[in-house]
């Protein structure tokens, strides 16, 4: 005996009235993201810094490598507030270093190098991590070997190996690609090769869970190839954890590059990066503490803003927290 039919069967089929316009996922994410003040400020500062290092030299047109011995050791302009006879000039608002190179121009050029290394290394890290994670998660046969390999790489001592690699392979790459490009490739390469493990683990875990879901089964039943499933159905779904992991990767890459430059194994000596400026300023920080502060603050603020951005993204992309 079946249940009695509802009185007006067609009512159940009618569309319920739409009270709100449809909202996309990214709109929700943005709404949640807006509430995280630190993340907003971090994102804003990151955009500002990126624009400044990209287009700053159009506005501030002094060549960062130009030596001006006559105007060396100029203090920043604000020193004049408490020290009226300090050597300051409006031509170099942030002062010059011991060779007379303009500090503002150097910070802009150094930031360009540091940010370029950070972004490139982060993208490389994500590419390697995603590839290995997807392969391990999707193809059962590759899972064991790839994850054992990840574990092995995780137990490598990263900073000593980075130092070893950069010191030992400097010469051939410089000879082949020129001093700056060779170093760029080397640093981006070694950072990428040594920091993909977290991303790979995260992606593998998500893929393992996702590939058992019905929509993947449906896609397979519809005749989609493995390649199509990975690119059209799985990758868009692991995007959010990847973005959080990418912000962490960017922060780590910037710090690692600066650390290498600080230890004197980074870019050639006339090529400014933030870490290099900091390292050059340390021997004379007794007289000119501002030269340590300036690049140090730039590194710290950039990394801080990236970290806050990651924090906000993590909250915004987590559907369990969203809407609260």
């Amino acid at each position: 005996m079946t249940d009695p039919m509802p009185q007006t069967p067609l009512n159940a089929l009618q569309e319920p009235e739409i009270t709100q316009p449809a909202r996309s996922q990214w709109r929700d994410v943005w709404d949640q993201f807006k509430h995280h003040k630190g993340a907003l400020m971090g994102g804003g500062f990151l955009i500002f810094i990126t624009l400044a290092v990209l287009f700053g030299d159009l506005i501030w047109q002094i060549d960062p490598k130009k030596l001006d011995i006559r105007n060396k050791d100029v203090r920043p302009i604000y020193t004049a507030i408490w020290e009226s006879d300090a050597k300051v000039s409006w031509a170099n608002p942030l002062g010059t270093d011991n060779l007379g190179r303009d500090q503002l121009a150097q910070v802009l050029a150094g930031g360009r190098a540091s940010m370029a290394v950070g972004w490139a290394a982060m993208i490389l890290t994500m590419l390697i991590g995603t590839t290995i994670g997807v392969l391990a998660g999707f193809f059962r046969r590759l899972d064991g070997p790839l994850m054992r390999f990840t574990d092995l790489v995780l137990s490598l001592p990263i900073l000593p190996l980075l130092l070893v690699a950069v010191t030992l392979f400097r010469q051939p790459l410089r000879a082949n690609f020129g001093p700056e490009m060779g170093m760029f490739i080397l640093i981006v390469g070694v950072i990428g090769v040594t920091s993909w493990m977290q991303a790979a683990r995260i992606v593998r875990g998500d893929i393992l869970a996702l590939k058992e879901r019905e929509f993947v089964l449906a896609a397979r039943a519809a005749g989609t190839t493995s390649r199509g499933i990975i690119f059209r159905h799985l990758l868009p779904n692991v995007l959010s954890p990847l973005m959080v992991s990418a912000t962490l990767g960017l922060a780590t890459a910037i710090i690692t590059e600066s650390a290498l430059s600080f230890l004197g194994v980074g870019f050639p000596s006339d090529f400014p990066t933030w870490g290099k400026m900091l390292a050059d300023a340390v021997p004379r920080m007794q007289e000119y503490p501002e030269r340590v502060m300036l690049p140090g603050m730039m590194i710290s603020l950039t990394v801080l803003s990236v970290n806050y951005l990651g924090d906000g993204l993590r909250d915004a992309l987590d559907p369990r927290i969203r809407g609260r």
Binding site: V164, L304, D311
Partner: protein
């Protein structure tokens, strides 16, 4: 649990062999020449002889095998000899003589140790000389960091979203973001240059014999320890907070409160003991990382520890030294991963590995 520990211990042997091989191949591929500093007037065939004297003429697998033998067979012999002959702990044992040093007077087979190319003395001797400085600074920093981090983590979780919690979050964020090569110079500028409170070069020849020299030792250790401790504190207080938050909402906490236990007992005994389980493993996992991070701090404060030894060896193309120190870092990582896994199983009865 025991079988698990033994299995992991056995498995760590191939892991370490693989890591040693990776480091070795990386160093082999490197184009650096240890003869680069030798004057150009030395004829090439003499240079070739010198290279062979360093053991560079042999094929790669022979070199790797010899390094393994030196590291795992000869160096332990030297160590056992030292233990039974000179050390206070085992000096009462009959003196052993396992290691035969090579030299002019020695007839027959003799044992070669891992020799540094810079100083022509055994690498392990130099490492043993440098180790106390690193251990003092790094170990002290880690202990200080943990001691600061755990109360901060507990209190910010207990008063979640309070002013203290917000400030703690901000400070840990800063601790994550400011690299040690900036905090180091920053502290030096403020406390050594402007205020003149602390010396900014770590004097490793300083011997503690009375109260004044002890105070001096404390003063010179304070800044490097603080720089390293900031990183530790940031990480561990975050973990502690998250772990406390997980536990504070559990049913057993409500039960404990309903039984009429005081708040102090509930938080400090019931919740804290359960929250410490993941934190202890994180603490164990962080030990090798802080050794790596100490490289930069040692350079900033001129502490002549292991990290500084590695840097100078790298710049001097001293491959046996680089190989040995890097491998020791790897041993630390593998060892503390093992410790963390075992601790996790021991502390949390829900975790069963078998």
């Amino acid at each position: 649990m025991l079988t698990f520990s033994i299995r992991r211990l056995v498995l760590s042997v191939p892991t370490l062999l693989f890591i040693a091989l990776v480091i070795f191949l990386l160093l082999q591929l490197a184009p650096g020449d240890p003869m680069a500093q030798v004057p150009l007037t030395v004829p090439p065939e003499v240079k070739q002889k010198m290279r062979e004297a360093l053991g560079l003429g042999q094929p790669i697998h022979v070199q790797f095998w010899k390094w393994l033998v030196q590291m795992f067979w000869i160096e332990p012999q030297v160590f056992i000899d030292w233990l039974t002959n000179k050390s206070a702990l085992f000096g009462w044992l009959p003196d052993t003589d396992l290691y035969t040093a090579c030299g002019g007077a020695v007839e027959g087979p003799c044992d070669l140790r891992v020799i540094s190319w810079q100083t022509r003395s055994p690498v392990m001797d130099i490492v043993v000389q440098r180790l106390p400085q690193t251990l003092w600074v790094v170990g002290m920093a880690y202990v200080v960091g943990i001691l600061i981090a755990i109360p901060i983590g507990i209190y910010s979780a207990y008063r979640q979203y309070s002013v203290f919690d917000q400030a703690g979050t901000f400070i840990t964020m800063i601790g994550f973001s400011i690299p040690p090569f900036f905090t180091g110079p920053l502290l030096i500028v403020i406390f050594s240059v402007q205020l003149g409170w602390f010396p900014f070069i770590y004097d490793t020849t300083h011997v503690v014999e009375d109260w004044d020299s002890f105070v001096f030792q404390l003063r010179q250790m304070l800044m490097p320890v603080m720089v390293l401790a900031l990183q530790t504190t940031a990480q561990i207080s975050r973990f502690m907070r998250a772990s406390m938050l997980d536990n504070l909402n559990q049913d057993y906490v409500r039960t404990a409160r309903a039984k009429g236990l005081s708040e102090a007992v509930v938080v400090m005994i019931h919740v804290l003991r359960n929250s410490m389980i993941p934190v202890v493993t994180v603490i164990a996992l962080g030990v090798p990382a802080i050794f790596g991070g100490a490289i930069i701090t040692e350079v900033v404060f001129s502490v002549n520890g292991i990290g500084q030894l590695l840097i100078t060896a790298l710049f001097a193309n001293d491959l046996p030294m680089v190989m040995t120190i890097t491998f020791m870092f790897a041993v630390l990582i593998v060892f503390f991963n093992l410790i963390a896994d075992i601790l996790y199983g021991l502390l949390d009865p829900r975790i069963r590995y078998d």
